[in-house]
Amino acid sequence: MTLQKENLSVSVSPHIYDKQTTGGIMRDVLIALIPAALASFYFFGMRAFLVILVSILGCLLSEWIFQKIVKKPSSLLDGSAVLTGVLLAFCLPSSIPLYMVFIGAGVSIIIGKMVFGGLGHNIFNPALVGRAVLLASWPQAMTTWPAANNIFLGMYDTVAGATPLAGIKLGQYTATYWDLFIGRTGGSLGETCAVALLIGGVYLILRKVISIAIPLTYIGSVYLLSSFLGIDPVYSILSGGLFLGAFFMATDYVTSPMTSGGKLIFGLGCGLLTVMIRKFGGYPEGVCYAILFMNGLVPLIERYTQPKVFGVKNK
């Protein structure tokens, strides 16, 4: 090969990169959600599959339409819309009418993400924005829980039942720890199976996609505050959407603090608010609103947890 003299690329350093890409991160999170998705098919059947499918399609379609209207390049392939679709579906009951799922998906993407400027610019977790709007619009459909129902695990009642959290409010512990752990309870389709979510969460931590800081402080503070308030702490952390929220929602990069100190405060705040809403609020579950509220505090938290600049003396 003779030496050619021209056309050398002159980009600025560095000239090598770490393997991890945004697409790779999204893929990892989707992989981490597979166990919980399988559990939802198992416990809630075909309906769960349909809700997830419609939610994903709704998210992709609304992102595509929005970007057509505002004449921006398409970002469908970055995986974030698919992820929002899965997460939204996970916090809906499997019996919800599919048109509501579709509307929720549109709200998640358009109100939750695109109007802020797309991926990376939104303040609130898009999936939770969608869920919050659905809950306010159709409270009945959003709180009718088909009980987990699977012939392989022995029959359970097929009529709609209260969730374990609603039970706590009445002072009733209706499910066993084991039921809660494997997900044999009523609830949103992706939130009931704690073990599946835990597997996914550990996968994300091992892959270094998320740090352990937020899940640990979130679940830890729910545990401690629950026991302080006289609620069975194990029951408290295993029920409701806590694991889904702690591993997959509160850890959303865009809407959580980047600083390591900020992550601790964020997780702690989510935990305290979740227990407060569960105990004193109007709803049995507080994960969604706790995270949304803390999302709004992120700029403030980051401001006070900036890393110490090298060579600057502490004042």
């Binding site: 021209e6 002159v10 865009v254 090298f310």
Partner: protein, 442 residues
């Protein structure tokens, strides 16, 4: 890994040193034209001492300037000056350069030798180093005599020899430690005498066991020099990070190592100090690692300053496939050469040719606020915030976020999953800020 000295933050790129680490240093023969830029160092450019048609000898001073922060330059072979004109510099801009047509004799000018440090005063050592045109050979090319002449009110107590070579691919310092350990020790002793101190730390990364063995062997019996093994992490060889890891002292923002009583010199510089002080040899050659997947015969070459990059690549068998990028230095902080007609200069530690498939042409996506840049920044900065400020040209905010404290190590760009060109934006913002500050001062 536990227990080794290191700093906070940093990244772990693949070392890739195996390509060239076991290849002994070879001398690159004289080839064609020699081009010697008069500015190869941090500070004021030298002024030419020769003109077209002059005959020069190897080691003859051809450029110098009165003043403190500058360095002299020397002819790297004997021959005739064919021109003194502006020519493209490896860093991209045009710089006044001396063109020499070698006569092939490679004839040295007279050199003043000494055989023992007892024959020379500390001031004598510094003046010899100044005369030899020595600059830091780690890459930044800061004039060595300046570092050795602290202001009267600064008390220096520690010399750190930086043999970390944390850039992937580069093995020039590594080979030097295996092949020239006695000279390195002589150089360190000369540096200690020049600084009038008796404590030197010799810092090597843990991934170079043979160099650690070789140097601890050479240091045996020298109670002024202490060898310390560092964790293998980029940018372990950064001056401020190295000082903190070894002495627990942080160089304050905007200050120099001598403000905390430390002088850091690269190991290659220490060897060059020995050449300058004992043999009177000016800096006319250096070790260059020629490496990467796209070079036929990787090598560690002793190259005359001023040799064209194209000649070096040719000597190493040429590229395997079409060259897309030629990196001068390592892959983390090295500069993509604007052309292969530029010469090797005092700061050229490596020539790196990667195959096309290894070169990533970044297609930046939006920041997803993953926080990786924040976690790896060795200076404790928030590169993602600079990026935002730089994009909207809010330089005041970038200043508030301490952008000027960034050393451009590239760790943030390296880890960014959206492949955002942080360093590119930071460099742009820094030069804009400097321009504004200059304007204000006028």
């Amino acid at each position: 890994m536990f227990g080794l000295k290191t700093f906070k933050g940093g990244v772990h790129p693949k070392g890739k040193k195996n390509i060239s680490q076991d290849i002994p240093i070879k001398e690159m023969p004289l080839t064609g034209e020699i081009i010697i830029p008069l500015s190869q160092h941090a500070g004021a450019p030298a002024e030419p001492l020769v003109k077209k048609g002059d005959k020069v000898l190897k080691g003859q001073k051809i450029g110098d300037k009165d003043g403190f922060i500058t360095a002299s330059v020397h002819a790297s072979t004997s021959g005739e000056v064919t021109d003194v004109k502006y020519s493209i510099h490896p860093l991209g801009s045009k710089v006044l350069s001396v063109f020499i047509r070698p006569d092939g004799k490679d004839e040295w000018c007279g050199l003043q030798k000494i055989s023992s440090l007892d024959e020379i005063t500390p001031e004598g050592i510094i003046s010899k180093i100044r005369e030899a045109g020595l600059v830091g050979l780690g890459g930044a090319a800061f004039p060595t005599h300046v570092k050795l002449s602290p202001p009267k009110d600064k008390k220096i107590d520690t010399l750190i020899i930086n043999a970390v070579e944390c850039e992937p691919y580069l093995t020039a310092d590594y080979r030097l430690m295996l092949e020239e350990k006695e000279k390195i020790i002589l150089g360190i002793k000369a540096l200690l005498k020049a600084l009038k101190i008796e404590k030197a730390y010799f810092a090597i990364e843990s991934n170079k066991p043979e160099a650690i063995g070789s140097m601890s062997d050479a240091i045996k019996g020298e109670d002024t020099i202490k060898l310390l093994v560092m964790e293998t992490k980029y940018p372990q060889g950064s001056e401020k990070q190295l000082i903190e890891a070894l002495t627990k002292k942080q160089v304050p923002v905007g200050k120099l190592p001598l403000d905390v009583g430390v002088v850091v010199q690269n190991v290659g510089t220490a060897k060059a100090v020995a050449d300058a002080v004992f043999e009177g040899r000016p800096l006319v050659e250096r070790i260059v690692t020629v490496t990467g997947s796209n070079i036929k015969d990787p090598a560690n070459l002793k190259v005359r300053i001023g040799t064209k990059i194209s000649d070096v690549i040719d000597f190493c068998g040429g590229p395997i496939e079409e060259m897309v990028k030629v990196i001068l230095g390592g892959p983390m902080m090295g500069i993509a050469a604007p052309s292969i007609d530029v010469p090797v200069i005092k700061g050229t530690s490596g020539i790196l040719l990667m195959k096309k498939k290894e070169i990533i042409f970044a297609d930046p996506g939006p920041c997803i606020r993953c926080g990786r840049c924040l976690a790896v920044c060795p200076m404790g900065l928030a590169p993602g915030r600079f990026m935002e400020s730089a994009e909207v040209k809010d330089y005041d905010r970038a200043m508030e976020d301490n952008i000027m404290n960034c050393m451009e190590c590239g760790s943030c760009s390296y880890v960014c999953p959206s492949r955002r060109p942080m360093v590119h934006w930071i460099k742009t913002a820094k030069s804009q800020i400097q321009r504004q500050l200059k304007k204000k001062a006028e």
